[in-house]
């Protein structure tokens, strides 16, 4: 079985695969998709251009979700002491209830609302007469029951249409309570083209309503924020474990296992470390503009990548003791990693993977597959933008279309009293000269081999075709894609919520991931597809002759 797969693999030509993917579409759809399917080739110092962050064609079975899913599901979902109240009919709230595997740890007496699902459950009378009164009443009831520090209100599709002014309702309630910050998100699902718009709407409001609310100095010598880490399967816990060991203080994680106070204090950190570039790079920019905190791109997916990211952070602070501790931690953690990887590699080396997830994950997880000797033969994002593929240098040239235009861009200026550059210009220059890159991200494409396929907003039809033609040993996407791929006899790993298990970040996470992929690609189950009597009768005849 395994050897057969390998033989098939070398036969494909990317141009043929691309042509095959497009062949069944109506011409208009084919033209559009052609621009979102890119054969990776090294042009002079640059990557070829891909179309991304554009509308999904109606009727094409997409992997994407909506703006609300990006806002409430991804960004605000993992916060634990903020009451998340969804204003709309019941479904939107129900589906976002505990389905993303964000872990939280509230401690013995802490607040933790993550297990609750709250909704105004709009009825037809609310649609006809407006739902503002019901929303105000629901906020009041949530306040009376839970007395939370903060209540976040989320709009779903019909709310925008009927014109409920959720922001005014939130503002009035905030004033009324005095001790509870209430704010709202206009994250109706029809805005934007994917979850990505929702990330932006969420982060804007967090920045506008929470960040900077608490000026109290937090203890710690090396203070950072970790942006774009959502604690799926406990990833954030593992990263925090490593930070602790190194003596790095994580002021705020955006937003895994986060608290209101973490967001409120984020402006007191001295460095922003950006994990998921897609969902949060603009927050890093805003924190820099307003408070003077520089940002670097990090990646804690992959043991090598983790080590590299820690070194970057240490280099930024430039403290000898920190640099030494980081090296000591890496030296301490790596032997266990090496031991597992050298065992697993015996079985995974040379195998192939495909990844279609997120706006950064398809890139991050490539590291882990590399470490296992597995080659990524095709990858893409569900809701990435061009800069996530090609690097941030394309940002000035991004087309702003109608869908992007209605996602608010906050205009940020330096805070009058609290803007404080963390490094002098000279220090920044020196760090840059030494190789530390600020505000820098090269994207996925430069890391992909030549002649691999990079595909944006992959859909069900293309996924099935790709697997059929290129026969990867493992395919990674989300829950909706999982079982159609597995029906083809190819193991599928969810990289949004990980199916089960985790963490996969950091050193321990890397070990978990190696073992998990080893289990998946080498599971005996893939050899049971055919019953003995269904196997080719000629083969058994040949066997008799031998």
């Amino acid at each position: 079985m395994a050897t057969m797969t390998k033989k098939k693999m070398v036969q494909w030509d990317p141009a043929d695969v691309k042509a095959e993917l497009l062949s069944k579409y109506p011409p208009k759809v084919a033209r559009k998709r052609a621009k979102q399917i890119m054969i990776n080739e090294a042009l002079e110092n640059e990557t070829p251009e891909i179309t991304a962050n554009v509308r999904t064609t109606p009727g094409i079975i997409t992997m994407r979700g909506c703006t609300y899913a990006g806002c409430k599901g991804v960004i605000m979902g993992p916060t634990r002491d903020i009451v998340n109240l969804v204003h709309g009919p019941i479904g939107c709230s129900f589906y976002a209830w505990l389905t993303r595997r964000n872990q939280t740890d509230a401690g013995p007496d802490g607040d933790n609302f993550i297990n609750y699902c709250m909704s105004t459950d709009m009825q037809d009378s609310d649609i006809i007469f407006g739902g503002e009164k019901k929303l105000a009443q629901a906020i009041q009831e949530a306040y009376d029951l839970f007395h939370p520090k903060s209540i976040a209100v989320f709009a779903t599709c019909p709310v925008g249409l009927i014109g409920d002014d959720i922001h005014t309702v939130a503002k009035n309630m905030k004033e009324k309570f005095g001790d509870c910050n209430v704010y709202a998100f206009s994250c109706e699902g029809y805005k934007g083209v994917s979850q990505s718009a929702g990330h932006h709407i969420a982060n804007n409001q967090v920045f506008r309503h929470i960040v900077g609310e608490n000026d109290e100095e937090k203890p710690g010598k090396f203070k950072i924020n970790l942006l774009g880490e959502y604690n799926i399967g406990g990833d954030g816990f593992e990263i925090d474990r490593i930070f602790n060991k190194c003596g790095i203080t994580n002021i705020a994680t955006f937003s895994g296992n986060s608290t209101y106070d973490q967001f409120a204090s984020a402006h007191t950190a001295d460095l922003n470390a950006v994990m998921c570039h897609r969902s949060i790079n603009y927050v890093a920019d805003m924190l820099e503009t307003k408070y003077g905190i520089p940002w670097i791109k990090v990646n804690f997916i992959g043991a090598e990548a983790t080590a590299k990211s820690l070194r970057k952070i240490a280099e930024y602070f430039g403290d000898k003791e920190l640099i030494d501790t980081v090296e000591a931690v890496i030296a301490e953690e790596m032997p266990a990693v090496d031991e597992v990887v050298s065992d697993v590699r015996i079985r995974t080396d040379g195998k192939t993977a495909m990844m279609f997830v997120g706006g950064s994950r398809a890139h991050h997880y490539k590291e882990l597959f590399n470490e296992m000797g597995m080659k990524t033969i095709s990858a893409g994002y569900e809701f990435g933008h061009r800069d996530d593929y090609e690097g941030r240098q394309v940002i000035p040239n991004l087309k702003v279309d109608a869908d992007s235009r209605n996602i608010e861009e906050l205009v940020i200026e330096a805070d009058e009293t609290r803007y404080r550059p963390r490094k002098t210009e000279k220090e920044m220059k020196a760090l840059e000269k030494a190789g530390l890159q600020f505000k820098h991200y090269d994207g996925l494409a430069p890391d992909m081999d030549n002649d691999t396929l990079i595909i944006d907003d992959l859909n069900q039809y293309e996924a099935e075709k790709l697997v059929e033609l290129m026969k990867p040993d493992i395919f990674c996407a989300g829950i909706k894609e999982k079982y159609s791929i597995q029906k083809l006899g190819v193991p599928m790993k969810q990289l949004h919520s990980y199916d089960s298990g985790g963490p996969y970040a950091g050193f321990k996470g890397a070990i978990n991931f190696y073992n998990e992929i080893d289990r998946l690609v080498n599971s005996k189950v893939w050899s049971y597809m055919k019953a003995p009597w269904q196997k080719n009768p000629q083969l058994s005849a040949a066997y008799i002759w031998e």
Binding site: T57, P89, P158, I162, S484
Partner: protein
Amino acid sequence: MLLRHTPKEIPTERKALTINPAKTCQPIGAMYAALGIHGCLPHSHGSQGCCAYHRSALTRHYKEPISAATSSFTEGASVFGGQANLLQAINNIFTVYEPDVIAVHTTCLSETIGDDLKQIRLKAQNEGKIPEGKYVIGAPTPSYVGSHVTGFSNMVKSMTEFAETTGKKNGKVNIIPGWVEPADMEEIKRMAKLTGVKTILFPDTSGVLNAPLTGEYKMFPDGGTTVAELKSAGDSVGTLALGEWCSADAARELDKKNKVPCNVLDMPFGLKATDRFVDALRKIAGVTVSDELALERGQLVDLISDMHQYFYHKKVALVGDPDQLISMTEFLVSIDMCPVHIITGTPGKKFEKRIREITKDMPFEVNVKAKGDMFLLHQWMKNDPVDLLIGNSYCKYMARDEDVPLVRWGFPILDRQGHQYFPTVGYKGGLRLLEKILEALLDRKDRDDPEEKFELVL
């Protein structure tokens, strides 16, 4: 504590805030129903998030691929209406995925905008976007009315569009099974076959959502009610609709439109409801019940008597959908268990009335609420503790906090398997339900009994 903020006190009734819902929205029911038509691709007319959520929820419940398309509304469509999106979608779907049927349901968004499905379908027809021999059906499913159950019912009702009256009866009985699992649909067919009744079951998700792993992916698996069967449903001798909430509307529509008389029954969960189902089946087809079914019934009665001491006066909390809960409550009462807290999120005053009737002779007071939520159920449990909780996977948070054994039954089940393979309807299903209940109660007894009371034989 997982639900650490849930207080025991219930000072005032909440008027606007739903916490931990015991229902979800219409389209997911419509999507599930549509998957029970052979060769059908469900289509969600709205923005793509709803479709993604419904597919994900069904996928997690069945661990099977759920294909469904969406009109992918953006802001423009929300302002100008989604007609262009749907027309384009229909064309793309028939070209790329080649289903026999597209079953369109609406969402809150397209309903609020006021898109007229009928008119859009007509336009698609006139523009030649629906190939010869292919069909587009549609059901309005605004989620601000009813619940997922309503959506299921609406889609099943729209299937009756296919029904034709040729004037020549086909000698079959239509069975509308309601929102039950694929294994239950299979079991209903088996029971009918044992009784010697020819049936048209719709929808039928068996063979669709419990498909085998063979190395081949069929976007449209072998199961499902065929279009030919749906057409023929207009010539059947009668319809048995299982469940007032899930199935009655479709049955009444067939009665009205095609003059197929109908009988609305409770879903055949438990002894008595199954008895009524089998009896109705026998009468409508004019046959005698087979010895095999009678044997199965006897086995169920036998198990009830064998283990009655463990059921007797045990208090149960129940949450789920109306049709299922009515039959389950009746079953529990019939074995002398005491369902004391019963909640559905689906509206319907009739529900509370039925439950009160069924439980009227019980020695304990009963809390029942339609349009309730799990937060309230949890509060009831804190005030009047129970021995057993029956409901979907979300119940495990309450079960753990209150240290109450849980039997998973309902939708969605996200953390256990078996519901797509083993039925809970009929006599056989009754055996399985009792097995699950006993397992939960006796595992708990074995865990909690002091050593000197720990016993080998139970």
